[in-house]
């Protein structure tokens, strides 16, 4: 059963067609990766799915409901949560507090109960704090709980971004180049984390340039070039697909042989 169905999505910026009639499905609990040269339209596609842009054409069905053109927060509320290609954090907020902020989706206390500090609110806050610490443990950032997000080293910032997305208890995660700028050890840890998230039942759509990561972790791979989907298949099929090799040789050269 597919959790996400993308059909005939087009995104134009003036005369430029950044995403051109792209369609694909993502099954429940799959890890699907989108690869393609820089400027292929991967981030734009994410932005369309996550509600940053309203698609010029096409339909996007998430958990059986049309979400194309809905506000980003509404889409997130339904359980589809994205991260950003360029590091995006609550800079002047502590790590712990960031993870509490991100639990907004699952917290329900109303303003009146907050003002009288009702027992239900206190209970909810305790659960939120506990969950924040669980995520910190998962990211191995427990000892940074009270540090400002801004003050973390780059690798930990990228981890925290995933932690923030995770705190929202998503059914599906869109990760935009989570390994960009990470060293080899950090990338391997990240791979472990992504695999773990999938084991916990989260469906993952991943944009990534690191081919080792993509080939080893993905159930299926989608290739975009110039806004068009040029191939889709198992990692082994993609590695030997002549169109894909052609697209990459025409643009960025990528090493598939590793």
């Amino acid at each position: 059963m597919s959790i996400l169905k993308v059909e005939g999505v087009v995104q134009r910026f003036g005369g430029l067609v950044a995403v051109n009639n792209v369609g694909f499905n993502v099954g429940q609990n799959e890890i699907v990766s989108i690869i393609g040269p820089n400027g292929a339209g991967k981030t734009t596609l994410f932005n369309v799915i996550a509600g940053t842009y309203k698609p010029s054409e096409g339909s996007i069905i998430f958990k059986g409901k049309e979400i194309a053109g809905l506000p980003a927060a509404t889409i997130a509320k339904q359980g589809l949560v994205r991260t950003f290609q360029i590091t995006s954090l609550f800079s002047n907020v502590s790590v712990l507090e960031s993870l509490k902020i991100a639990q907004h989706r699952t917290l329900e206390s109303n303003l009146f109960n907050v003002l009288i500090n009702a027992p239900s609110v206190r209970a909810e806050e305790q659960v939120a704090e506990k969950r924040a610490y669980e995520i910190l443990a998962l990211l191995k950032l427990e000892n940074k709980a009270n540090h400002l997000s801004d003050s973390l080293p780059y690798g930990e910032q990228r981890l925290l971004e995933i932690g923030i997305a995770l705190a929202a208890k998503p059914d599906m995660l869109l990760l935009d180049e989570p390994a960009a700028g990470l060293n080899e050890t950090e990338t391997i840890e990240l791979m472990g984390l992504i695999a773990l998230l999938r084991d916990e039942g989260i469906t993952i759509l991943l944009v990534e340039h690191d081919m080792n990561l993509v080939m080893s972790i993905s159930d299926r791979i989608l290739v975009l070039a110039n806004g068009t989907k040029i191939a889709e298949g198992l990692p082994s099929e993609i590695q030997t697909n002549p169109d894909v090799i052609e697209a990459y040789l025409g643009g960025d050269i990528m090493d598939f042989s590793e």
Partner: protein, 320 residues
């Protein structure tokens, strides 16, 4: 981050006890009047802080909501004989509703719409109250607003002092509760990084409107208090300089903190009074303090001191 529980409790109760004892020690009406005015400015600065400090939106019409609250309460009193006990809720509800309307209209389009519309509101209200002679008595102002009376007791300075102290404590408590809840976290999230806030299901527009409604409600209540305390109001309430004063109080005191606007309001109410004796240098000293605090305490007085105290704990937090 966590202080000893009893220390925290003491730090919270001692200032409150001192504030409660003030009228017992101070019987001079002039001093009490200054303190009452400081209380009114504290309400205004605290409420504006929700916009500037928490959600990060500059409302340039805060004095307008203050003035509207004052005029609603004042007119209800003068024209219909309605006491503050009904006038104040009416003023609060009306400004909340106006906050809702303006928020809905301006936060959808974003950009500078909010700043411009709130800026315009003050000007519009000044024109309306100046020219609608039959209702507001125009530039001559509205006189004869009923002073506060409770259980047959006519309020004296001492009573007004306790009344405004109660309001200040209540508002500070409310803001503190909100700030440490999912609502306050949503406010701060929007201020810090709106796309990321949206990505974790925080609807910016909804929370901006909510923040503005809370903010304008408190300003309206402050206006109502002012009208019944001074018993005379005029279109000068809507002057932009009043809004600017509130903004300065928030920024110098420390935006985003509960204590900052209180400190800012007290400083900028007491200071002009103290400097009255050396009137010639008053504006100079005023300006120097502003410059000093902006140059050396970018975040404002309260966060700068908090920073020094917390430094050795390693943990810092912009909004604590």
């Amino acid at each position: 981050m966590k202080m000893n529980k009893t220390t925290t409790k003491l730090l919270q109760t001692i200032p409150v006890l001192i504030l409660l004892a003030v009228p017992v020690v101070v019987t001079n009406n002039y001093v009490l009047n200054v303190l009452i005015m400081a209380g009114i400015w504290t309400l205004l600065a605290s409420s504006l802080n929700i916009m500037i400090g928490l959600v990060g939106q500059l409302s340039m019409g805060h004095a307008a909501f203050y003035g509207i609250g004052a005029y609603i309460s004042g007119l209800l009193s003068v024209r219909l004989g309605i006491p503050i006990w009904l006038g104040m809720p009416a003023a609060g509800l009306a400004t909340t509703f106006l906050g809702y309307l303006i928020g809905k209209l301006t936060f959808r389009v974003r950009g500078s719409a909010f700043v411009l519309v709130t800026l315009g509101l003050g000007e519009v209200m000044r024109l309306v109250t100046n020219n609608w002679m039959s209702l507001t008595n125009g530039p001559l102002g509205l006189q004869g607003i009923s002073p506060v009376k409770l259980f047959g007791v006519n309020f004296t300075y001492k009573h007004y002092y306790y009344f405004i102290l109660l309001l200040v404590l209540l508002v500070s408590y409310i803001i503190w509760r909100i700030k440490n809840s999912r609502f306050g976290r949503a406010f701060i999230a929007m201020n810090e990084n709106e796309p990321l806030a949206n990505a974790v299901a925080i609807h910016s527009e909804r929370f901006l409107v909510l923040a503005f409604m809370i903010s304008t409600c408190i300003a309206g209540i402050a206006g109502s208090f002012y009208a019944h305390y001074v018993t005379f109001i005029s279109p000068d309430l809507f002057l932009l300089s009043n809004t600017v004063t509130i903004v300065v109080m928030v920024i110098v005191g420390g935006k985003g903190t509960v204590l900052g606007p209180i400190v800012g309001a007290i400083i900028f109410t007491l200071l002009p009074e103290w400097l009255r004796a050396i009137d010639n240098y008053r504006m100079l000293i005023y300006g120097l303090i502003l410059m000093f605090s902006i140059l050396f305490m970018k975040r404002g007085i309260v966060p700068s001191f908090a920073r020094i105290i917390k430094k050795k704990r390693g943990a810092l937090h912009e909004y604590s």
